[in-house]
């Protein structure tokens, strides 16, 4: 797999593509892009079969190890790749460590081991056991093991530990990658840790710059502990550290952030030159019965940012979630029906909300790409920011 991007400057919006994928030569993913967040190999509430009713385009599935740990043993015997095992052989897979939708519990550290929380509780991975899994999963893209358990209030000691642990993981995982035949076509993303301390980030980056062969991209790790809180991070708090990192890393490689960033922060991060995100935001919204209704195009007929379909005012509202939206939920189902499903706890309720949210978010990313192309990203940013602010005020 190759990543091509332009312009090659440090902190500006850019357009790129992931292509020349060995197993899927016709696939071409345009960046800035969004990976489909999965749990246990499925987009929450949407089976791969139903997703085909949402979009026929090729996608990258973000597959957090936390939900896949249960298949660790089975995958040693399974002959195919993780994409085909989870029932989506035409998708690209990106194996990640933590689930962006679930809070990564702090603490629980152990030298040279990282805890993940599976359905059966806490499990530790070290570089060897992690790479064993990666080799048996054979993902198209994967993150190297990292200790990214830092956030804006982490202590210096924690940051130092996160850096030293991750340095060790980096070396050991890359060594193993270089020897592995099964992984010779896998695209490697190196997490960058160091919390909110510039000096730690710089220290970590100069360490990996010494030996960067086989590294195809970077994950800006350690900005938050995942889960719903990431939605409300203030951009001015993360901007300095993100800029510091982007100024130091090679420009031609893929840049990834993980987490449920709100649309305003997505645009802000795109403006800094981030290439790849995930749909965890769609899931977080769906879990609180909220549907995205912010306008992407000026022509979108909406005066709300998001709506909560549990609200009893929708009981006899036979309009779609968003007038003019062409997703399956909006073309075939009403707010009243979805409200009914949610209020009687039927499975189809969150399915219809999630279909709309994922569709809307994919459309949002399409708009971002076309705005970069036309040099109008700032207009979009102003519009989304204003809608977001108004929404915060009315809450």
């Amino acid at each position: 797999m190759k990543f091509y991007v332009e312009p090659l400057s440090k902190c500006t919006q850019r357009l790129g593509s992931l292509s020349e994928i060995e197993s899927k030569p016709t696939v071409n993913i345009k960046t800035p892009a969004v990976m489909l967040h999965t749990q246990g190999g499925q987009i929450p509430h949407i089976t791969h079969e139903v997703f085909k009713l949402v979009s026929r385009k090729s996608q990258i599935l973000q597959i957090p190890l936390a939900g896949m740990h249960t298949f660790k043993e089975a995958m040693q015997y399974y002959e195919g790749t993780i994409s085909s095992f989870i029932g989506s052989k035409d998708s690209l897979s990106c194996l990640t460590l933590q689930d962006p939708c679930n809070i990564t519990k702090q603490g629980h550290h152990s030298t040279l081991k990282v805890p993940i929380w599976t359905k059966n509780g806490k499990v530790y991975y070290d570089a060897k056991s992690y790479m064993d899994v990666v080799e048996s999963f054979k993902p198209d893209i994967y993150f190297l093991l990292s200790d990214g358990d830092t956030n804006i209030s982490s202590s210096e000691k924690r940051i130092a530990k996160s850096v030293s642990n991750t340095m060790n993981f980096y070396k050991e995982c890359l060594d193993r990658h270089r020897k592995s035949d099964a992984l010779k076509h896998s695209f490697v993303i190196a997490p960058i840790v160091g919390g909110y301390k510039q000096i730690s980030r710089e220290r970590y980056i100069s360490f990996i710059l010494e030996d960067m062969k086989n590294v195809d991209g970077f994950l800006i790790d350690g900005l938050h502990n995942n889960g719903p809180e990431a939605e409300f991070l203030e951009f001015n708090e993360i901007e300095p550290i993100v800029r510091c990192i982007l100024n130091k890393i090679p420009t031609e490689k893929l840049r990834v952030v993980q987490g449920c960033w709100n649309p305003v922060n997505i645009i802000n991060l795109v403006e800094l030159g981030i290439d790849l995100f995930d749909t965890s935001y769609c899931h977080i919204l769906t879990e609180r019965s909220a549907a995205m209704t912010f306008a992407i195009e000026i022509t979108d007929q909406t005066n709300t940012y998001e709506i909560n379909l549990r609200d009893s005012k929708y009981v006899d509202d036979f309009q779609p979630i968003l007038i003019g939206c062409e997703c399956l939920s909006c073309t075939k189902y009403s707010r009243a029906y979805i409200h009914h499903l949610l209020s009687v706890h039927e499975l189809l309720g969150p399915i219809l909300v999630m279909i709309h949210n994922v569709y809307h978010y994919l459309r949002f990313f399409e708009k971002i790409r076309s705005c970069i192309q036309n040099n109008t990203l700032q207009t979009l940013q102003l519009s989304i920011t204003e809608q977001f602010r108004n929404h915060q005020k009315t809450k």
């Binding site: 246990g40 949407i46 079969e49 043993e73 009403s334 029906y337 189809l348």
Partner: protein, 395 residues
């Protein structure tokens, strides 16, 4: 104005040996090939399946529950929506029950009088509510299903009090007449009477004979599948189908196990419904001709075969037992995947029954089917007896 009947029934082929028949019933929302199994979409949705998917599977008819829909969203919303078909975006046929069964089974406090069923509402007000035959039809008229059920006086099948059962038989017929009188949409909805009488042959005969005198287009057999012995069960079905006219469809309520379907088709039943296939999917059980697979079991963890190699459903095309085993009862999507499989299983069974009757091979089909379920030929006596009553010898 069209004066077309809302139910046109035609027998296509009769089995030369048993009472089984293949027929076709044309309802306002399309044709239904009989014998048919109707999955249950209690609250206006079928357990995580989109109507688009059900249409794709070729499903022609499903069931919805009047009691649940009358409580939520309620008749007012259903009327505003233009009926349940429009509300839930299902263009196929629908059948609703009368609500009486739920009242007696769900609500301990239900009290039955000549007027109707008095019960304490489950909604917030906990008010005392009376469900009369007129009210049941009013709700069912608002729902707008193609086939609707009379309110019947339900007595627990295992209740031995003959006096009470005799009362229920007479009352059910009186309520039938009230339902027919109250019915507002005789041109678009068909009321089916329900044959009652639990396990008393004389009472069941009386009930069936009273009902066939009414001007209706089909009949239901109720009060079975409620914990009685299989020996009693099949005899009551046999007796009922002997009395009910050949030229109208016969619906056996609450039956859905594969063996029961095969036997009761032989006894001349045309329509079935049961929550079992969709309910058992939620608990991780997949149906096959050889029996159920409980996918939670350890033995499937490294089983890379589909649930059933011969099954045409998407779940069997795309997923292995090993994968499903890791997600059943953990992810809601696993329930969708197994529900699809189980519905396809039921539909295929009915299709095979129809085809074998058409080809004049039904007795062979029954023998092959039973041999798959009981490879050592240790057939339960009720199966041997019931089939032999319609000239199909198993051994």
């Amino acid at each position: 104005m069209t004066t077309k009947s809302p139910l046109v029934f035609s027998i296509l082929t009769e089995c030369g040996t048993s009472k089984a028949r293949v027929s076709r019933m044309i309802l306002p929302h399309g044709p239904v090939d009989l014998p048919v199994f109707m999955p249950v979409g209690t609250q206006g949705t079928l357990k995580g399946m989109l109507p688009e998917q059900l249409e794709e599977l070729g499903l022609q008819i499903m069931l919805a529950n009047t009691y649940h829909l009358g409580t939520k969203p309620g008749t007012e919303i259903l009327q505003k929506a233009g009926g349940l078909h429009k509300f839930m975006n299902w263009n196929g046929c629908l059948l609703t029950d009368s609500g009486g069964f739920q009242m007696v089974s769900l609500l301990k406090l239900a009290e039955i009088t000549e007027d109707g069923v008095r019960f304490q509402s489950l909604n917030d007000q906990k008010a005392e509510v009376m469900l009369t035959p007129e009210h049941s039809i009013e709700i069912q008229n608002a729902i707008g299903a193609d086939i609707i059920m009379q309110l019947d006086d339900v007595v627990k099948t295992t209740n031995p009090d003959k006096e009470r059962i005799e009362e229920s038989v007479h009352r059910t017929t009186r309520w039938l007449d009230r339902c027919l009188k109250a019915h507002q949409n005789p041109d678009t909805q068909n009321i089916f009477p329900i044959v009652q009488g639990t396990l008393y042959e004389d009472l069941r005969e009386k009930s069936a004979k009273d009902h066939i005198e009414r001007d209706v287009r089909g009949f239901a057999i109720g009060g079975l599948s409620g914990g009685e012995s299989k020996d009693d069960f099949w005899k009551m079905v046999h007796l009922s189908t002997n009395i009910l006219p050949k030229n109208k469809p016969r619906y056996l309520m609450g039956v859905g196990f594969a063996e029961d379907l095969v036997v009761c088709c032989a006894l001349g039943v045309d329509m079935f419904d049961c929550v079992f296939p969709t309910r058992t999917a939620r608990f991780g059980c997949a149906l096959t001709r050889k029996g159920q697979l409980n996918l939670k079991k350890e033995q499937f963890k490294k089983d890379f075969r589909p649930i059933d190699e011969n099954c045409p459903c998407n779940t069997c095309k795309n997923y292995t037992r090993a994968y499903l085993s890791g997600i059943v009862t953990v992810l809601p999507v696993a329930c969708h995947l197994l529900t699809e499989h189980n519905i396809v299983f039921q539909m295929n069974l009915m299709k095979d029954i129809r085809q074998s009757i058409t080809k004049g091979k039904f007795p062979d089909f029954v023998r092959d089917f039973m041999l798959q379920v009981y490879p050592t030929k240790n057939y339960p006596s009720w199966i041997i007896d019931s089939l032999s009553a319609v000239n199909i010898k198993l051994k």
